[in-house]
Symmetry: C2
């Protein structure tokens, strides 16, 4: 029953082509706003503008809030000041914050001028919180009641709030000074006798977050406590706003994408790969690639150092990529496990020693398995000595690679850097250098070659 | 204000050590159930059992539902049949399904025998849906009303349902034959005049999912439409149950972790790295490592083929790791971007040609940048010929590596395999083989060496 963005897009496209304005207006009035936005995604800019102007006026702000930042920016340059004012005034405060923080500073300044004074104060307030903070995600559109009110009075306030479009699934209880006392589900008000006091419904188990906290904390708290929204408070405990589960789901997805990209040595960028320009992609990819070139040059230096060994037994080069890559692969596995465990809160800084002990046991077993696999091949191709050298190197390289891969995320975390920077390509490059040194030094010793 | 699992765990631990039963019972009765469960996570099994038995009886099922599968399994072996029956009867149906599908088959059979007949029918029904389907995630605890009811009558039904503990944020409208007509937020019932008919509140925009659909569809629909729950229907459109946003958030996190692990060539496993046994980790890591050994052997074969070239110009070995690794790194970047874009629905199968064109442009720019970086170093170390050979190889290897990295996820997707199997280590291994062949063939040609 759910339409795909493609089918909606094709449908709107066909109606535009056929100039069937009546049916087009009808569709734009009836489709869920999220589908209208998704259907506009694939259209050319002038068609997108046309569709946007055909939208019923009361839906335009909502559809606008579901477009991505680049498209919002493009639309804003073409809309009249009056149209822009209308949309801005009707955007929910959290979406308005999201829009204003994505746009170039001069556009943001221009837009702020179009806001009516109360919305302007609110927008300035929300933009005052640090980027990626809980404060930037929150909306002040919540409903608050007081503990000494009757349920009947509270329900009246709830009705008035819901009519103004405020989130009503959870109702917040605050004291006379605005400090958060509790969060109560709407349905408990409906079940309670109308003359009971609100305080009778309170359990004082509400979890809240400070506005300056990192937004990932909102993801963790909402997920841990299965909440629909988490209240945000200032240092005095006064209720400032709420962060809702739908915003948090988007943040969780963005954070996972960022970690994913970092693990693949791609810099963080907004928007989708499909929309990103080649220049953006180039800029996000080139720094790590060039940095890794220098790391890989070190591997070459290691090889040059053992040139005599290689010239003496050229077969050793045959096994080099294999041994070196195996250390990198085992290290990439260990790093992946740790990066994700740290990101999801399953591993903590103080767990490192226990996890290291386990990693040593696992990597010893992995190394021995792979050493056995390669032993015979080494012996057949290069004789007994090469077989032993190759197998022993494999064991050492896998253990060392795994240990580096496991520890690097913790080290980065300790240095207040992002653990996800412990990417597969970085681990592979480090393991390459270490692997070459381990392999040729073991081979030189076992084959009784002169030390370089 | 939110307690960390560690602090709760340490607190419970201390109270247990001090045998302070009164305060322990008090804490167990007051802490949010999710925190009690998290606090039990780090305890030794016998302590966990003790804590569980000290819980107020009415909270035990809820705490149990927040434990992870291994711990639930361990507790179940120690609980009496009566205690088990109590917990099972009180678990929400969706959590019961989750428990029964995780446990070994013989335990599941034993537990099913302990269920009262209606719960047994329900459990059998939910377990009848395929693993990882929407049906397995759903709960039949929703509230349904009919279109010709008055709002007052509907509110009565809502109160009765909410008292039975059913999800009441969204109310479902069904016809006399149980077919889903609409989903209406609870607050709209509170705002409506009591004598109005339910049909006056309907907009008929409800999105629903078939029970046999993959559970990732529930993630996408709830995220796209910002829903609190999505209704699940059978082929006739009859309402079977609902999937709520909290379950969907857990699924989204699990799916992201699975993709993460696959990208790091670690097999999927349940539970956390911290809890996983060394044997489990070994089993999940060894298959890919051994498979990649054989891929890397092919690189050795490539090198052996060019042995004469290497012996003629040994400096070429110096640049080999660098060039080969750069292709792998660029390929890993491209694969990472595509895997994530496919997983989040930002790229579709039919986008491949457009994305390939963009990838070719980006990788040409990347290759030229890196070729320029390495040109001088090559010329200084090996003369003008080596400089050109190294730079030209770099350009080719980066373009070929990127193209492989970009296309492999689409190819796997086309073959109905998981795109995330296009892991950095796999791409690196393929790029190694291709890179060696490109590098030595270009070098052989440019340096005028005899072909092997």
């Amino acid at each position: 029953m759910s339409a795909t963005p493609e089918s909606v897009g094709a449908d709107l496209h066909a109606l535009l082509d056929g100039r069937d304005w009546t049916r087009l207006r009808e569709r734009l009035a009836q489709l869920p706003v999220q589908d209208v936005a998704a259907g506009m995604l694939g259209q050319a800019p002038e068609r997108r503008m046309l569709l946007f102007r055909l939208l019923p006026r009361e839906r335009s702000a909502e559809v606008f809030s579901y477009l991505n930042p680049e498209q919002q920016d493009a639309l804003l340059t073409d809309l009249t000041a009056d149209e822009t004012r209308h949309i801005l005034a009707r955007l929910p405060p959290d979406d308005r914050t999201a829009l204003l923080q994505e746009l170039p500073a001069e556009v943001t300044r221009r837009l702020l001028k179009l806001l009516p004074p109360p919305a302007l104060r609110q927008a300035r307030g929300l933009l005052g919180y640090p980027p990626e903070s809980v404060g930037r995600l929150m909306t002040p559109d919540y409903i608050a009641v007081q503990p000494d009110w009757t349920v009947a009075r509270a329900l009246k306030a709830i009705r008035a709030g819901a009519e103004r479009g405020e989130t009503a699934n959870v109702i917040y209880v605050v004291d006379a000074r605005g400090r958060l006392l509790d969060a109560i589900e709407l349905r408990r008000f409906i079940l309670a006798p109308p003359r009971a006091r609100v305080q009778r419904l309170m359990t004082r188990q509400a979890v809240s977050l400070p506005a300056f906290e990192d937004r990932e904390a909102a993801v963790r708290v909402i997920q841990h406590y299965d909440l629909h929204a988490v209240p945000v408070v200032d240092s005095d405990g006064a209720l400032l706003g709420i962060v809702t589960v739908d915003d948090v789901m988007d943040v969780a997805q963005q954070e996972a994408t960022e970690d994913f990209h970092k693990m693949g040595t791609v810099g963080a960028f907004k928007g989708s790969v499909r929309e990103a320009s080649p220049l953006t992609l180039y800029r996000k990819r080139v720094p790590w690639l060039v940095m890794l070139v220098f790391a890989n040059l070190l591997t070459g230096v290691g090889i040059a150092y053992y040139e005599a060994t290689i010239e003496a037994v050229i077969t050793l080069v045959f096994f080099m990529p294999l041994i070196v890559a195996s250390g990198g692969n085992a290290g990439a596995q260990a790093a992946t496990l740790m990066v994700r465990a740290i990101a999801t809160g399953q591993a903590h800084a103080h767990d490192w020693a226990r996890l290291l002990a386990k990693e040593l046991a696992v990597s010893l077993a992995l190394g021995v398995t792979m050493g056995l696999v390669i032993w015979g091949i080494g012996a057949i191709r290069g004789g007994a000595g090469v077989g032993i050298a190759v197998a022993l190197s494999m064991v050492c390289v896998v253990i060392v690679g795994s240990t580096i891969g496991m520890m690097l995320p913790f080290l980065l975390n300790r240095l207040k850097l992002d653990p996800a920077a412990a990417s597969a390509p970085l681990i592979t490059s480090i393991a390459d250098i270490v692997g070459v040194l381990i392999y040729f030094s073991i081979a030189t010793a076992i084959l009784g070659l002169p030390a370089p």
